[in-house]
């Protein structure tokens, strides 16, 4: 790390070595997650180069934030993980299985393992949740709920599509989950109780 902050050739050598290490990590992580991508060969390697380059920028921009609570390499490699996730999220939209505007509430029971034969229970479930979503969520929260839950769009892909961040989308969904549970408890569909801790 000290070498990265040094002047001249020492810094250049350190940057080169770090970039090579980040590229190796990006390649191995993309291989580990290849099922989420369905690409291989030069295209996969191109994604690895993009992820390594962006991780390198993040590391250099945040060097002064490294507090020494972990090995420097572990800290640097986490930015590769974040960039690989972002690239996979972006890649999702090359062949999206659903349109972002899709809103098929009949999918909801299957998302939560309802018995396909239990038509009455499935119908009641959809009606209750749909009503709670319409009544208690803001339009933005409803949009996020539909995309993540009904359409099954991965969170990072949705963040990419909306020009948002993983943290912001998660926070929106967190608030929606809390509001939906309160609504469904108030209407007698769920039991109200304190959060269970493991």
């Amino acid at each position: 790390m000290i070498a990265l902050q040094s002047p001249g050739t020492e810094r250049d050598d350190a940057v080169t070595r770090l970039h090579e290490a980040l590229l190796q990590v990006a390649r191995s992580e993309l291989r580990r997650r290849h099922r989420q991508l369905n690409v291989s060969g030069p295209e996969l390697d191109d994604l690895a180069h993009q992820a390594a380059a962006d991780a390198m920028l993040a590391v250099m921009a945040k060097l002064d934030q490294f507090r020494g609570e972990s090995k420097f390499t572990t800290w640097a490699y986490k930015f590769v993980m974040f960039e690989v996730s972002a690239k996979i999220g972006r890649h999702f939209w090359r062949r999206p299985p659903v349109a972002l505007t899709s809103e098929d509430w009949d999918r909801l029971p299957d998302r939560f393992g309802f018995d396909p034969a239990g038509e009455s229970e499935r119908r009641d479930f959809v009606r209750a949740v749909h009503r709670a979503v319409q009544a208690d969520l803001t339009e933005h929260q409803r949009q996020i709920f539909v995309a993540l839950v009904l359409d099954g769009i991965p969170l990072d892909a949705l963040a990419e599509k909306l020009g948002s961040s993983r943290n912001a989308i998660y926070k929106t969904m967190f608030d929606s989950r809390r509001k939906l549970r309160a609504s469904l408890v108030a209407n007698g569909y769920l039991q109200g109780e304190e959060v269970r801790r493991p």
Binding site: K71, W75, F82, G113, F125, L155, D156, Y170
Partner: protein, 79 residues
């Protein structure tokens, strides 16, 4: 778990959950602790552990770091 019970589990929120931002900020520290002693990592960062129980993207990133640490010590090279 299926049906209403699965949905109930989905909509339950833990006030201790630090979110993606809080988790990503300390993920490297959590990962190194977890490789040595998973319960100790969860005990030191209960808000991160609460988040990881429900956030697939952060869990995926952590799994990548854990895989790397376990396979290579701390990955290729070192600075």
């Amino acid at each position: 778990m299926s049906g209403w019970s699965a949905f109930d589990r989905f909509v339950r929120t833990d006030p201790a959950d630090v979110g993606c931002g809080g988790t990503m900020a300390v993920m490297e520290v959590y990962a190194e602790l977890a490789v040595a002693d998973q319960p100790a990592a969860a005990a030191r960062y209960p808000g991160v552990a609460a988040h990881l129980r429900v956030c697939n993207p952060c869990t995926e990133d952590l799994d990548g770091l854990l895989t790397l640490i376990r396979a290579n010590g701390h990955g290729p090279g070192g600075i």
